[in-house]
Symmetry: C2
Subunit: 136 residues, 2 copies
DNA sequence: ATAATTGCAAATTTTTTGCAGGTTC
DNA sequence: GAACCTGCAAAAAATTTGCAATTAT
């Protein structure tokens, strides 16, 4: 379990009830779009406004609590920042699966950046296809 | 030079003046957002409506003429479909640079997909950082 | 106590749609 | 000439903003 209050404070953000709710929902689903956060949060605490969700998603993304995952043909999803990983995105059901990288599956993007004198800060690797479940 | 009329017909789309204009602008810039296409196209042919651009971007993307490049913190850009490559995205100036992959810089994503029984269809690798030009 | 945050309603921006007239094949 | 496309204006959807009341530290 993540200590959301701590996570927020570490990023110079006040630990409000609303932010905790939002983080809880994001954590529960792993990757989730804004409208879906709203629907889910509303179920629990009906007076949390959509504007507040927008403001907080923007803020928490700026402060480094969240990362945006822009997806082809869909609205962006958001996740809580964690160790580097790639995304397997199912084009059937929309599910996003995290995949950590090990030595065997390392992605040599640094070399690419180096040969282009590009100063690399953040990598985003998304693989689109059909997940295990949707193949059957 | 790309033969836009041919490209469109190969994808079962009529070669209209508007579509050619849109493709020309996309090709000229390499990667470009919808609003920017509109501004650029308007300069040449002022009566091309934004609605037509939207309709055609959607259609040409569906038909496989274009690909969407969703970008963290920005609107998606679009490019004409070409051989697989990755994107170096400059967070200073917004420029997107294409980088073809060679054996030296191959990205072993197939292995990743395989170990997850994920049926891979499309890979999207975006590296965010600062481009050569903006570093100085 | 102070500065930040919330919710609301309104404004803005972005994207989609319907339809009459025009164009491509 | 049939099917498809365009432009317009209007509608719908998504996102942002201002401000008074509330809350976290």
């Amino acid at each position: 379990m993540i200590d959301y209050a701590l996570l927020l404070k570490e990023h110079q953000l006040k630990a409000t009830f609303q932010r905790m709710q939002i983080l809880e929902v994001i954590e529960k689903y792993g990757h989730i779009a804004i409208e879906a956060i709203y629907e889910e949060v509303s179920r629990i605490h009906s007076s949390l406004s959509l504007a507040t969700i927008y403001k907080n998603i923007v803020l928490m993304t700026q402060k480094g609590v969240l990362t945006e995952i822009p997806i082809i043909g869909e609205k962006s999803k958001y996740e809580i920042i964690k160790d580097e990983h790639i995304h397997l995105i199912c084009t059937e059901c929309g599910t996003v699966i995290d995949k950590m990288l090990d030595d065997d599956t390392a992605i040599d993007t640094e070399k690419v950046a180096k040969t282009s004198s590009f100063s690399l800060e953040h990598r985003q690797v998304n693989l689109y296809g059909t997940c295990d479940h949707c193949q059957s």
